[in-house]
């Protein structure tokens, strides 16, 4: 099928722009996804948008066992952003598979499942369980949340250490054995994000998802104590968008320069509008996730998709993919 044929009649084609995109072997009808932890497992957004109309729903990072998460308060609003410290509260993988995946499947939504573990073995176990189900079981891809604390190494997050990142991703890739695309989700809180990206790609990741929140803190000026029970929290929202654009640009630039194996980048960070999404795409993202903006507007992922499509049409793009990495041309 030539590019010309493809521009017509595919599922992604609406109002003249073919929105189809690929994450490795996974074809998505469009490039706008929810972000992990910002849409639970999709169900609560049902009154506000059509989950099946999104590129995919990325589910809240799931661990092996049920986890209560951190104490409250878990959030603080900050200028154009927020801090969160949820601590990966969740029902554990089995309850998740029993309750959440079937609902998404029934709705016709694609599920990208985010996994989190305290060590490489937990990650591998989770990945194995999901790969077993595979696409037929309603799982479209894995997102490996390595921006969570490594129990063995004083709680240092995996994604801040190339060796730890390699270990987790290699373990996951091995057990998945090509049955699902594996995305490594990176933290911006590193001196050199290209180095971590390289560690993940060298370990066999099919793509990168970036960025996770950046570590921040708010102090209550009445009590003079940290607002969050967890003291520090993850900063997200439009405030960090310039950091996300920069990270994506740096990694995509390294790929273009041959310093890094080319691989799809899923852009995340501060996307609130279609034009925000376009910034991440032009920087090098082949899909984008909408996170915190969903709290402001629960229809945001769907709205962003419409706005992005419109913006591409206005700029004369026939295909979404032609906009990827444009800022480097």
């Amino acid at each position: 099928m030539s590019a010309g044929e493809r521009a017509e009649g595919t599922a992604g084609e609406v109002s003249g722009v073919d929105m189809t995109t690929h994450l490795g072997t996974l074809e998505l009808p469009n490039p706008v996804l929810t972000a992990s932890g910002c849409s639970a497992a999709g169900r609560e957004l049902d009154p506000f948008l059509d989950v099946a109309g999104l590129g995919a729903v990325v589910t809240k990072s799931i661990a092996r066992a049920a986890r209560p998460g951190r104490a409250t308060p878990r959030m603080a609003e900050t200028p154009s952003g927020m801090l969160n410290s949820i601590g990966l509260q969740g029902p554990g993988i089995e309850a998740f598979l029993a309750k959440d995946v079937p609902w998404l499947r029934e709705r016709g939504a694609r599920a990208v499942v985010s996994i989190a573990g305290g060590d490489a073995a937990e990650f591998a176990e989770l990945a194995g369980r999901l790969a077993e189900l595979g696409p037929e079981g309603g799982i479209s891809a894995l997102e490996v949340n390595i921006s969570c604390p490594n129990v063995a190494n004083r709680g240092l997050v995996f994604a801040c250490d190339p060796a730890a990142s390699t270990q987790v991703i290699a373990g996951v890739v091995e057990v998945v054995a090509g049955r699902l695309p594996v995305l490594a989700k990176l933290s911006p809180d590193v001196t050199d994000i290209v180095e971590i990206a390289r560690a993940c790609l060298d370990a066999g990741a099919d793509g990168l998802a970036m960025i996770n929140t950046t570590l921040g803190m708010v102090i209550d000026t009445d009590t003079l104590r940290p607002v969050l029970a967890g003291i520090t929290g993850g900063l997200s929202g439009p405030a960090i968008r310039p950091i996300a654009v920069r990270c994506i640009y740096q990694v995509h630039a390294a790929m273009r320069a041959g310093a890094l194996r080319p691989a799809p980048i899923v852009g995340i960070g501060g996307v609130r509008t279609g034009l925000d999404a376009l910034q991440l795409v032009a920087a090098g993202a082949c899909a984008v996730q909408v996170g915190t903006a969903t709290f402001n507007d629960p229809s945001a992922p769907e709205r962003v998709l419409g706005e992005l499509r419109h913006a591409l049409a206005e700029r004369g793009f026939a295909r979404f993919v032609d906009a990827i990495g444009r800022a480097h041309d």
């Binding site: 910002c38 409250t72 104590r225 969050l228 709290f295 402001n296």
Partner: protein, 304 residues
């Protein structure tokens, strides 16, 4: 949630100062259609270019001519922004959110305890109870606040014919002291006024049944809305008098719709297991006996 919430851009019909608060009426027809007392709305604040990203949540204080009423305290920057709007302003609202107050068993007395603006949803609840045929005298309202200007709904409550008990911390109105000081009298009045002739209906909440077993007279259910420390204190006093308390809590909420997990409280399930439940979708009203008070950092001084 009883009905699916909707997201609407609506007109601010009116805004009126009321003591230390502002009463807003929003032309939110779709929200009003299914809203029930105990539910809340989430409003976006500050406009599209605001640095305030998160919505603010407010209890629905009533329905009025196809719209909804809110009673808002200007606390921080978002609520202050709201109280400074003029009629005609367009606002983005999501609602109704959360579940309604659990229904009061038909033959139980009812005590509603509101701290400050927390009285607003309870007044609507009282109105609805009376509109559905309950004798006004079986509804006892305890309205407390730091000072007179922070009392909400006293006139409204009197107009309903309900029993009214007022407290202020500084004694500027009613009894000087906390709401808990007035709760025993309110419980006694509710019990006195409750239909004597019958036992709790078998279908009524188990809470009502267990409460009535410990005291003489008909069962009385308590509904409380206000700060967490007040909820705990009220539920303790109520329990001493054999009454269960339904607590409408007010946790920090980032999303209001159930996707973020910021708003949780430790709640003991029927299976005895404590889970961090979302107060936005699983609440905001919980049975006081299920709330694990000692695991709430804001009460134990754990972090703040």
């Amino acid at each position: 949630m009883s009905e699916r919430p909707v997201q609407q851009r609506v007109r601010l019909r009116s805004i009126t100062p009321e003591g230390a608060y502002h009463r807003l009426v929003l032309d939110a027809g779709q929200v009003a259609r299914t809203a029930q007392p105990g539910q809340f709305v989430a409003l976006s604040v500050g406009g599209a270019d605001s640095a305030m990203l998160l919505r603010r949540c407010f209890s629905i204080a009533g329905r009025r001519e196809g719209g909804i009423e809110l009673l808002i305290a200007a606390r921080g920057k978002g609520s202050t922004w709201l109280t400074q709007r003029r009629p005609g302003t367009s606002l983005d609202v999501i609602g109704p959110l959360g579940g309604p107050f659990p229904p009061a068993p038909r033959r139980a007395g009812v005590v509603l305890v509101g701290g400050g603006y927390g009285a607003a949803p309870l007044l609507w609840f009282a109105e609805e109870l009376i509109a559905r045929g309950r004798a006004a005298s079986t509804v006892q309202l305890v309205l407390g606040a730091a000072s007179q200007d922070r009392l909400a709904g006293v006139e409204q409550a009197r107009a309903l014919g309900a029993g009214v008990h007022v407290t202020t911390d500084d004694g500027s109105a009613g009894i000087a002291g906390r709401v808990t000081a007035a709760v025993p009298a309110a419980l006694a009045a509710a019990r006195r006024e409750a239909p004597r002739e019958s036992r709790p209906a078998p279908g009524s909440a188990p809470a009502a049944g267990s409460g009535s077993a410990e005291t003489a007279g008909p069962p009385v259910e308590v509904y409380a809305c206000g700060p967490m420390a007040m909820l705990r204190a009220v539920s303790e006093v109520a329990a001493e008098h054999g009454s269960p308390t339904w607590c409408a809590v007010e946790e920090s909420m980032a999303c209001g719709v159930g996707v973020c997990m910021t708003c949780v409280l430790p709640i003991r399930g029927a299976d005895g297991v404590v889970r961090n439940l979302r107060t936005c979708t699983d609440g905001p009203t919980f049975d006081a006996r299920a709330i694990v008070w000692d695991q709430i950092p804001s009460l134990t001084g754990g972090s703040r």
